[in-house]
């Protein structure tokens, strides 16, 4: 078995087919039995600005990404400039020799501030202010520069349209050939990507073949990697995972107003509204599908979902920060009216539209505190693609079981992470449904005669009851009676207490790693994977670390967290925000004060190397706060 562990970035202009390049590489490696984890980084722009995918390829499933890169594939000059810092000794930089003379000053799609900074670095090193200069700097830093005349490779290949249209597939194929992946896997991969578009496949097969031939003829082809046995797997992003979880969890009604990175989930649901059943147990079960509605705004998205929920459909919506802000009032309504609804909240960099296509975890406190007045809601969070699947199912269940709004947090980094998921367990989580009444004439939707705070759910069309955003009596009519008000408030909050008692600790928080660790990381969301890898990396350096990973914030597992932190050594909070919000929540709930922080708020994903070095800074240099800055 060869032990490969490759970090690879492929970059080019937004709209230039980077997704296809990334898919080609990922699926080719997957067919050969390897595992690939990938994160997509892009600007809020449709065509032109720099975008790239960072992939890590291993036999074992990678959980994080790492710099410096082993491979940088530049499909345009901007990529060379943007990733100057990501290469080091041994990095192979593959680029199109036609780009060599491109001037930095001419690269108009680079952000002005970024260009200025690169300009400074090149000048400092007395290098040309063009691609050649940048490559020279990379070489100086130990990179192996590999120029390939892209146009020459495709010379004589009969294609449809300009050759440049195929540069994304060409770049990926050259890379795969140089790494040493057998040509058949690269060819196979095209079929996965282009489905039944025979003509497109045939054209791209020519490109793959030309790339492999060029490498063979020029002695660039790597030694063939051994292929491995692997079970059938699914290549899923966080968005895909959440959508799949919702489908498996019985979702029947989804609303959305387009926003990055949330709307991908709804598009996926639209594509899969026609559900494929395991078996057709009965006719009614094997018919139907998911109604997905694009609404006029987020106010409509959440309220429409609530309307459907009251009528008996399992309902959800998905949004990001700006949209969630608009939903606050209706979430409060779901609180007083005990409506089972799920809001999948894809966080990105704020405030306001902030960094609309970049990562962020600045919305934890906002999600917890959303809505006016006091009412129970649940806030849960996912940290990897599998969790996105199962947590989406759980979120729908919690909403039904406790009849309240459930906010499911996923960060942009996770939404746009692609991972191979080998097993999806259909028997892991039961699909729970609210207790429904049978057409009673004196139905009290909000009966106070309940121990766990959950009154039998009624459904429009079967039961007569009323709902109002005002405080109400047991029938649902407006009341301002002081005693009824007290009882209703207490009834609603009983549910949160019951939820806290019923839900097992492992669904709220988990500890990974040794019990006797010197360092305990606290985190939530997509840092889960990178911390798991860093724990291994730190062990090699003699630092024993573990992780307290938070999954549920409302209700918060105070006792469990308190117990773990009381016996912990150096506690470090790792988050993709500036103010350490999870640490604040911990202090609020347990009194425990975290004083060490590793934070990142530039919108980019955290890599293993920067996390390890930041931890060393805290452990050995006694730094209190380390801000991570990597990323193009």
């Amino acid at each position: 078995m060869s032990n490969i562990d490759l970090n690879l970035s492929i970059g080019g202009p937004q709209g230039g087919g980077i997704d296809t390049s990334s898919n080609l590489i990922s699926r080719a490696f997957a067919s050969s039995g390897y595992n690939v984890l990938g994160v997509r980084e892009f600007h809020s722009n449709i065509k032109g600005r720099h975008s790239y995918v960072h992939l890590r390829i291993r036999e074992e499933r990678p959980r994080s990404l790492k710099y410096p890169l082993d491979f940088l594939v530049a499909l345009d000059p901007d990529t060379i400039f943007e990733h100057l810092d990501d290469v080091s000794t041994g990095t192979i930089v593959l680029y199109d020799t036609n780009d060599e003379n491109a001037e930095l000053a001419q690269a108009r799609m680079i952000m002005r501030d970024t260009a200025k900074r690169i300009n400074g670095v090149l000048q400092e090193n007395k290098l040309d202010l063009n691609v050649k200069g940048a490559l020279a700097l990379m070489k100086k830093n130990g990179a192996k520069i590999m120029g390939i005349p892209f146009s020459k490779v495709l010379e004589g290949v009969e294609l449809d349209g300009p050759a440049t249209r195929y540069y994304n597939v060409l770049g990926a194929s050259l890379t795969l050939s140089i790494i040493g992946l057998d040509q058949k896997f690269t060819r196979d991969s095209l079929k996965h990507i282009f489905g039944n578009k025979e003509k497109v496949i045939a054209l791209n097969v020519k490109v793959v073949d030309a790339a492999y031939k060029y490498c063979r003829d020029n002695g660039l082809q790597g030694k063939t990697l051994p292929d491995m046995d692997a079970p059938p797997r699914m290549l899923l992003t966080g968005n895909d995972g959440a959508a799949l979880g919702k489908i498996m969890g019985g979702l029947r009604f989804q609303t959305y107003y387009p926003i990055t990175p949330a709307s991908d989930e709804s598009s996926i649901l639209e594509e899969h509204e026609d559900i494929k059943w395991l078996s057709n147990e009965n006719k009614k079960l094997a018919s139907g599908g998911i109604t997905v509605v694009q609404t006029e705004d987020e106010l409509s998205a959440i309220t429409m979902a609530e309307g459907a929920a009251i009528t008996g459909a399992r309902s959800a919506t998905a949004t990001s920060g700006p949209g969630f802000s608009l939903m606050a009032e209706a979430i409060s309504f779901a609180g007083i009216d005990e409506i089972p609804v799920v809001i999948t909240f894809y966080q990105r960099g704020g405030p306001s539209t902030g960094l609309p296509t970049r990562n962020g975890q600045g919305d934890l406190m906002f999600a917890m505190n959303t809505g006016h007045g006091e009412f129970p809601k649940m806030v849960i969070s996912s940290g990897d693609v599998e969790e996105c699947i199962y947590d989406s199912m759980k979120a729908l269940n919690y909403a039904q079981r406790y009849q309240l709004p459930v906010i499911h947090l996923i960060d942009k980094n996770l939404a746009n992470t692609s991972d191979f998921v080998p097993v999806i367990e259909t028997k892991k989580i039961k699909v729970e449904q609210s207790l429904k009444t049978k057409d009673k004439s004196d139905f009290k939707r909000y009966t106070l005669d309940t121990k766990n705070g959950v009154s039998p759910m009624g459904v429009f069309g079967k039961d007569i009851f009323w709902m109002t955003g005002d405080e109400h009596d047991e029938l649902g009519h407006v009341t301002e009676d002081p005693l009824i008000r007290d009882r209703m408030m207490e009834k609603r909050f009983t549910k949160l207490k019951v939820a806290d008692d019923e839900i097992p600790d492992e669904d709220k928080a988990q500890v990974f790693g040794s019990d006797h660790a010197k360092v305990t990381f606290i985190t939530w969301g997509s840092q889960k994977g990178v911390i798991l890898d860093a724990i291994d990396g730190l062990k090699a350096k003699g630092i024993e670390a573990n992780m307290l990973y938070l999954k549920m914030f409302e209700p918060f597992p105070s006792k469990f967290v308190d117990k773990i932190l009381k016996k912990a050594g150096t506690v470090i909070d790792v988050e993709s925000n500036m103010t350490g919000q999870a640490a604040k929540v911990i202090r609020m709930n347990t009194g425990f004060e975290v004083t060490n922080f590793i934070l990142k708020y530039n919108g980019r994903h955290i890599t293993e190397d920067e996390l390890i070095s930041a931890t060393s800074d805290i452990v050995s240099k006694k730094k209190k706060i380390v801000v991570l800055e990597n990323g193009a």
């Binding site: 029947r252 494929k276 079960l285 429409m304 309504f333 259909t426 069309g461 709902m467 955003g469």
Partner: protein, 308 residues
């Protein structure tokens, strides 16, 4: 026996309020249409008008300010068998809820929307509503209204509502007939109800309206109905006539049906086109798990395009 659609909740509207007539017209229409209590759902926003569902003996939601339409749409789409009535004020629907009002025209879901048009914000004490004319000074206002007015009829027509009508809350018999027509209409129907608010609007009073309203239906030549086989030319003529009548607001104010287009498919029907089982197994009634309680979805088949 016919169901009594009036609930036993005491009505707390001011004496003489036009809202009473709307509830009367509505309950009579429902009775005459022979609906059962579980056939209909009432959805309102916030305002004096918003209290309506509590006064009706059928399921109802008194929702957020401005959001009655999307709540109602959620109800209707989850179970298209239900008749869904929206009872909302002019401030509620044409100011804070204006975006939804327009969007609903585009959707043509199949709701029956009743606008309580009193030109003021009743429940917040008389501020100018979007239907009040520029320069008007009612007793609730400190100075004349500084906004221009929107016209609910032409707004509904240009948004795409397939049934547009106007009623007068003190002519409950006529209003009842309008509501009946609206409720059997397949697409979304909109009724602008002139609803005097004696407490805050001392200009558009019952007497003021009484001298001005006239019924278009009384004219033999008035035919607002578009059927699937109506020629394109005739459709545009009917639409233009409706629009022109909609602009009348002087000595004479028309009430009755402006436009009744039965050829535009409802949103419910449009969904059924791509989800074939939608109507006989709607989202609210679908079974979501196998008999063992676990999901019956095959993830690998559902996401076949992602499998490697």
């Amino acid at each position: 026996m016919a169901h009594n659609f009036r609930s036993d909740v005491a009505i707390d509207w001011c004496p003489g309020c036009g809202d009473f007539g709307i509830v009367t017209g509505l309950t009579q229409a429902l009775t005459e249409l022979n609906y059962g209590p579980n056939d209909v759902v009432a959805v309102s926003g916030i305002g004096c008008s918003g209290k309506t569902p509590h006064y009706l003996n059928m399921a109802g939601i008194h929702t957020l300010h401005g959001r009655s339409i999307p709540y109602a749409t959620g109800v209707k789409l989850a179970n298209p068998r239900l008749k869904v009535i929206v009872t909302s004020g002019d401030g509620d629907m044409l100011s804070i809820g204006a975006g939804h009002f327009v969007a609903e025209g585009r959707r043509n879901t199949g709701l029956t929307i009743i606008l309580y048009d009193n030109e003021v914000y009743g429940l917040t004490k008389g501020q100018a509503a979007p239907t009040m004319a520029l320069g008007e000074k009612t007793k609730g206002l400190a100075r004349p209204n500084v906004f221009g007015k929107v016209n609910p009829i032409t707004m509904a027509l240009s948004s795409g509502y397939s049934f547009v009508a106007r009623g007068f809350s003190f002519d409950t018999k006529h209003l009842k007939e309008l509501i009946k027509k609206a409720m059997i209409h397949e697409g979304s129907s909109f009724i602008d109800v002139l609803q005097p608010c004696p407490t805050y609007n001392n200009i558009n009073t019952m007497e003021w309206y009484r001298g001005k309203v006239y019924k278009m239906d009384d004219e033999k030549s008035w035919d607002p109905v578009v059927l699937p086989d109506t020629s394109a030319e005739s459709v545009s003529e009917k639409f233009n006539n409706a629009y022109k009548r909609g602009l009348e607001w002087d000595d004479k104010i028309p009430i009755g049906v402006f436009y009744d287009n039965r050829a535009i498919p409802s949103f419910v029907k449009r969904i059924a086109e791509y989800l074939p089982d939608y109507l006989n197994n709607p989202p609210a009634e679908q079974i979501v798990a196998g008999t063992d309680g676990y999901t019956n979805v095959d993830p690998f088949k559902t996401f076949a395009d992602r499998v490697i």
